[in-house]
């Protein structure tokens, strides 16, 4: 039977097996879970409930709040990271001396595990023992970083601190691989710096920007560690995010069926965004 399959496809077999085992199986299994009432502590009562778990999410206020929080977080964090990352990349591109050292320093935050970053900022921003409130205090400033108004934005700031280097890395690589001729042409034509940036650099860099934003956004949707380490979703539901809620519902409260449904709704939303973005990119490229 195997003989009849073209050789090219046969070479795909190892990948297909690995793919099926590590991706397809858990994916299909959790999809199945989301259609049942599976609860770890009541496995004997497991039964098929159709889309009940999904319709149940409609009147789950906390879940809706978590969706909103997650989107606000991703939107703000990724935009800020893009702006800062682009600015830094442009500066670094022009830097003459000590390039490697600067880059190594700037990239450092990326290599710290996010849970450690969360714990670090929990104490750095602590009003009583943290160094940041201490410094602000000398200027007569006092900020309640994890109070109801600012908590989500503090999370955004932490994410920006940690992941802007990632943007810098990608954008800098993109900038350095751009062809020289268009820039020389612009200079010959007497274009100002701003005009060159807007009409030459940005359009040429666009594919890199889209990929960087996409990678970063997909990762930001997974925000969990900062919430887990610092606020546990509080004050109230101010920093409740989807991933944290999925974790609490599935692992904390044992309701794997409901947690799977929560995760699939997010997957559906994120996939839609990715597909729409890619389509637009493809259309513009052709």
């Amino acid at each position: 039977m195997l003989r009849r399959i073209p050789i090219g496809y046969r070479f795909l077999t190892p990948l297909a097996v690995v793919f099926a085992a590590v991706f397809a199986y858990p994916f299909v299994y959790s999809l199945w879970l989301s259609l049942t009432n599976y609860t770890i502590t009541r496995r004997n009562e497991t039964r098929f409930v159709g889309i009940d778990q999904y319709t149940g999410l409609l009147d789950n206020d906390t879940y809706r709040q978590a969706l909103v929080n997650t989107f606000v977080f991703v939107l703000l964090a990724v935009s800020l990271e893009l702006l800062l990352g682009l600015a830094l990349a442009l500066c670094l591109q022009r830097q003459r001396w000590a390039r490697n050292v600067t880059r190594a320093f700037l990239l450092a935050p990326m290599f710290v595990t996010p849970i450690a970053v969360g714990l670090m900022f929990r104490f750095l921003l602590n009003q009583q023992i943290g160094v940041i409130p201490e410094i602000l205090g000398t200027f007569g400033l006092e900020i309640d970083f994890f109070g109801p108004d600012l908590a989500l934005f503090s999370m955004v700031a932490i994410d920006v601190w940690q992941w802007t280097p990632f943007m810098v890395l990608l954008l800098l690589a993109g900038l350095e691989s751009l062809p020289k001729q268009p820039f020389e042409a612009a200079r010959v034509d007497g274009a100002s710096r701003w005009l060159t940036f807007r009409s030459v650099t940005l359009p040429l860099l666009k594919p890199v920007i889209v990929v960087a934003v996409l990678l970063r956004a997909l990762d930001a949707f997974k925000v969990f560690e900062y919430v887990f380490a610092i606020t546990r979703g509080g004050p109230g539901t101010a920093t409740e995010t989807i991933q944290y809620q999925v974790y609490r519902t599935g692992i904390g409260f044992f309701r794997l069926g409901e947690a799977a449904a929560m995760a699939f709704v997010l997957v559906a939303v994120v996939l839609t965004i990715v597909v729409v973005l890619f389509r637009r990119l493809m259309r513009e490229a052709t």
Binding site: A24, N126, E142, R232, G233, G236, I251, F253
Partner: protein, 426 residues
């Protein structure tokens, strides 16, 4: 393309079949038999001082039971339950013995994950099960069967600075009003009157529960129905918010127990409501409090009834060596080894250890042990019944929102009460 699709479907089916084959062999080791137990006992524990103390007792156990090899894996609290639950579900368990936190006990027992221990307890020689504090035994008992043996308690108490209390002419508060006054009086520029733990979820409920009891309220009645929607609960929450606003460190809305401990140990707060076993830690010469060691004392929480937490030793149903695990549990919780454990700084669970003059002398003083004993006389856990962990989180969310000013006291209490009841009924 179609062939590729067919191929992937076939492979997927294969993968499913292979993965499904895992759960065959279910016959766990033999039942309690006579003779000397032997085997390896893998145990999961929390990274806390009490675990280190148990580890230090292991060589002694090994001498008595050379054929039993106890391997301790200590993890931070947040990782423990995930690991335990996966081990329950695995055909080849990761752990042969576990420690169970009180909110998990009911669900674990009802989920049929734990071995009932009644027969083993009755058969054990000189075990004297009645010697364990009553509220701790109650936690380990689900529907008339016993699934755990108390390991250590974390009932809450008021930990305060004796020197500051003396300077201000104060005595430990016995009512919420007195606590409020004491906190306000001790609140000076650099030092907060009281460090609190209003973090959303477990932490705030664990602390506020003491206020609730202090105001004369209750969480559940004798039939486990939620009775949180009461005037007492509203008073308690209002007092909590007032004290937080007037005397707790500024901007400490996300504080948990770690921050409070640091504040008190670093002379940045005069007192806190926390686990009773923090006292030996703070008073230890080489402990976190440094030069302040010895200046702390433990009192009952205002009102005298406190929130109780407790860890129990238990054996999973799928344990590979239940007999060896029981041998260790019986050994480490015996009167003699309880005494050694407590002298080394472990949190006591047996009345005999708490009233033993030898323990007083070699441990942390008569005051401490008699206070712990009286705390344990009247203490109750946050939740009793199914979905306890979730119920605690539901209530803890509303409480935290009220302190943050996002919900009124009235709304928070009624929402917490209805949420808690719904969760228990799920």
């Amino acid at each position: 393309m179609r062939r590729l699709l067919a191929l992937s479907v076939a492979l997927l089916a294969l993968a499913l079949a292979v993965a499904g084959c895992g759960g065959g062999d279910d016959d766990s080791g033999g039942t309690a038999t006579g003779g000397t137990p032997s085997g390896t006992v893998r145990v999961i524990m929390e990274e806390v001082p009490d675990t280190d103390i148990v580890k230090s007792l292991l060589p002694e156990f090994q001498k008595e039971f050379p054929d039993v090899d106890v391997q301790v894996e200590a993890l931070p609290y947040d990782q423990m339950r995930d690991r335990i639950v996966s081990s329950f579900l695995a055909s080849d368990p990761t752990y042969d013995m576990i420690v169970v936190d009180n909110p998990w006990m009911y669900d674990f027992a009802k989920g049929d994950f734990l071995l009932p221990l009644d027969d083993r307890i009755t058969a054990a020689q000189d075990f004297d099960h009645e010697d364990f504090a009553q509220p701790l035994r109650d936690i380990a008992e689900v529907d008339g069967a016993t699934y755990g043996v108390p390991f250590y308690n974390y009932a809450l108490g008021l930990i305060y600075r004796k020197d500051l209390y003396a300077q201000a002419g104060l005595t430990p508060p016995t009512t919420l009003a007195e606590l409020k006054a004491a906190a306000a009086k001790l609140n000076t520029g650099g030092r907060a009157g009281i460090a609190m733990q209003p973090q959303k979820g477990y932490k705030i409920f664990e602390e506020w529960g003491n206020y609730l009891f202090g105001a004369g309220g209750a969480i559940q009645d004798a039939d486990n129905a939620v009775v949180l929607d009461s005037p007492e609960a509203r008073t308690a929450l209002q007092e909590y918010i007032d004290i937080y606003k007037a005397s707790a460190p500024k901007n400490s809305l996300n504080w948990a127990f770690d921050e409070s401990l640091r504040a008190v140990a670093g002379d940045k707060a005069a007192q806190m409501i926390s686990y009773n076993w923090m006292l030996p830690t703070l008073n230890k010469a080489d402990g976190p409090a440094g030069k302040l060691a010895g200046k702390f004392a433990l009192a009952e929480v205002p009102g005298g009834k406190s929130i109780l937490g407790s860890w129990s030793w238990a054996i999973p149903k799928n344990s590979a060596s239940p007999d060896a695990a029981w041998a260790f549990i019986a050994w480490v919780t015996s009167k003699q080894h309880e005494k050694e454990r407590v002298i080394a700084g472990g949190a006591p669970v047996r009345a005999s250890a708490m009233s033993d003059p030898e323990v007083w002398e070699q441990g942390f003083g008569e005051d401490y042990y008699t206070t712990v004993a009286s705390i344990l006389e009247d203490a109750a856990p946050l939740a009793d019944g199914p979905n306890a962990e979730e119920m605690i989180n539901v209530v803890g969310e509303d409480l935290n929102a009220a302190v943050a000013g996002q919900e009124s006291v009235d709304d928070a209490i009624s929402s917490a009460a209805s949420g808690a009841q719904e969760t228990l009924d799920k």
